[in-house]
């Protein structure tokens, strides 16, 4: 079944490449490399944690909440970077020359300065004028830097749409804004999504740079543990492997997005990997939305200090998830994650899903939600608080 779908896929995409004697490496070998890497990483991590619990189990526990911080920094920064990127991308394709020059200047300047230098500048140099906390500095630095790169991705995506599309839309009497909204941007999104996914992965890795600002991300937590226990080899090996594991998972998701976008016939067999990739995309999107809702609700939540924050957050995330699901299910028949990987769960195009299909989708989305809200609960206003909380508990052999 699986082999069959593969052959069909290859033939469909390359047409004439039926045998192995092609100049382009086949998809399957890339796939095999991915499986080798991820299985090795999982086996190694699980193996050392199970068979050598001292110190590995402790390290995992210690860098685990650093990973949460890494995710939080990445998600928050990515949200702002996407907004900045959209502005920059639209600005650089705009006909208004003032807006165009302004956004181009932003892109040129920021892309010419290393991220680490930017982070130092924002945190240390700018303190002469305003003192920003490490969190704010980190998010600001990552957002501004990645906004410039993502802006270029957006510009490339918009400009990759043939000129005739805009002309055809304008010839119908649409305004420039309407043409962008209904014709250009929906097409550009397909081009843009895979590279934006790659930017997300790159940011996840680059967020390790913020450890220089005393933020307890995964790398920093590793360093803290290692400097106390002198278990440098064990700690940094695990840190590297966890980064690798996370990156591998997301890179596979991006791979499916890329495929979903270019996939022409929608009636290909849907594999479990497709579904999982769709769920991961939905979770990231939900995280973005949850972030905004959480930010809006935070001042309100302070009024009800009696309620446990965790419960409130869990409820908020659940409600947001349900609204999200219902909205896309009733209007489009599928969620953004499914669209991204080209999933068509309903049997016929445009037909609404049957009850079992809907139930399946519901489960896929709701099941990971409690875990997600747990991630959110971990958020603490300062890295110090988190640090202190753990400093009091067991810290290796010191």
């Amino acid at each position: 079944m699986k082999a069959e779908s593969h052959t069909k896929h290859a033939v469909h995409h390359y047409g004439w490449q039926h045998d192995d004697s092609t100049l382009i490496p086949r998809e399957r070998s890339l796939m095999i490399a991915w499986w080798i890497a991820i299985v090795a990483a999982v086996v190694f991590i699980a193996g050392v944690v199970l068979f050598k619990p001292v110190p590995y189990q402790e390290i995992i526990g210690f860098i685990g909440d650093g990973l949460v911080v890494t995710f939080q920094i990445t998600i928050v920064s990515m949200t702002f970077a996407l907004i900045l990127g959209l502005i920059a991308g639209l600005g650089r394709t705009a006909t208004n020359s003032f807006f165009n020059i302004l956004t181009s200047l932003y892109v040129e300047v920021i892309r010419g300065i290393p991220l680490l230098a930017q982070l130092f500048w924002i945190y240390y140099a700018m303190s002469r004028f305003v003192r920003l906390g490490p969190q704010v500095s980190a998010v600001l630095g990552l957002s501004i830097c990645y906004g410039a790169y993502i802006g270029e991705t957006f510009r490339g995506g918009i400009q990759s749409i043939p000129k005739g599309q805009m002309e055809a839309a304008r010839a119908l009497g649409l305004t420039r804004g309407q043409a962008m909204r209904y014709v250009i941007i929906p097409q550009a999104v397909r081009v843009i999504l895979p590279p934006v996914g790659n930017e997300f992965i790159a940011m996840l890795k680059d967020s390790s740079l913020v450890s220089v600002l005393a933020i307890s991300d995964m790398l920093r937590r590793g360093r803290e543990y290692a400097s106390r226990t002198f278990a440098y080899f064990e700690t940094y090996t695990l840190v590297a492997l966890v980064y690798l594991l996370v990156t591998l998972i997301f890179s596979r998701v991006v791979f499916y997005i890329e495929h979903g976008m270019s996939r022409q016939d929608k009636d290909q067999p849907v594999t479990l990997m497709h579904r999982l990739a769709g769920v991961v995309v939905d979770l990231v999107v939900l995280d973005f939305i949850g972030l905004i809702v959480y930010g809006l609700l935070q001042p309100l939540a302070l009024l009800f200090t009696g309620l446990p924050v965790n419960a409130v957050l869990a409820v908020v995330m659940l409600v947001v998830g349900l609204i999200y699901l219902l909205l896309f299910w009733t209007r489009a028949g599928r969620t953004p994650g499914m669209m991204a990987v080209g999933l068509q769960l309903s049997t016929e195009q445009g037909e609404h899903p049957s009850f079992p299909q809907a139930l399946e989708r519901l489960l896929f989305l709701i099941l990971p939600l409690p875990g997600l809200s747990l991630l959110w609960m971990q958020w603490s206003p300062t890295g110090e608080a988190l640090h202190d909380r753990f400093a009091g508990t067991r810290v290796g052999r010191d």
Partner: protein, 246 residues
Amino acid sequence: MSTTPIVQIRNLHKRFGRVHALNDVSLDVEAGEVVVIIGPSGSGKSTLLRCVNRLEVPTSGTISIDGAEIRSDERQVNQMRAEVGMVFQQFNLFPHMTATENIILGPMTVRKWERERAVTLAHELLAKVGIPEKADVYPEQLSGGQQQRVAIARSLAMEPKIMLFDEPTSALDPEMIKEVLDVMLDLARDGMTMMVVSHEMGFARNAARRIVFMDQGEIIEMTTPELLYTAPQHERTKRFLSQILH
């Protein structure tokens, strides 16, 4: 002949840098008339068409549509474009929309029609261009001829007063040219005002009242198709015809 022409082009100039794409072109098109424009590549025929619905902004000269002179006013231009349909050489269908969605976009966004009304019209138009069964199909699943017919239906959905055709059959495989020309002939018979850039002699003979020969941004000769093809007056026209009529 007392009515004012629906398209009135006066002393039109268009320069692209140092290239003089249109040089003092004046042309009137009556309501219900079909005008075919021919000429060698680079003669300015497409530019002329694109100036009419202002996809190109003329360097100087005036164009009036239905009595109103078109200026660089966004709202007026958009209003005018809604009344002037255009069909492109490369079809330019929106690939992320089905045939029906392509057709209803204009009526729904520009004319603010209800979806149901627009869809009904779309289905009528698809039947009119001979592909009612392709309503829910995406452009990539259609042949070139079918795509161009959807593109014509998309323009017709705005119920235009004038239709512009910019080499509508040049990108088509030979066996698909006829199906598109047949749709255009039907339109001409229904009394649509059409400006057509095309070298299809059969279409010109059957549908056009006038044929315009352009070269180097100027109108060289303007007469009936019969006369132009059998007894061209100018040397340049003769040379051009001898090249396309092997």
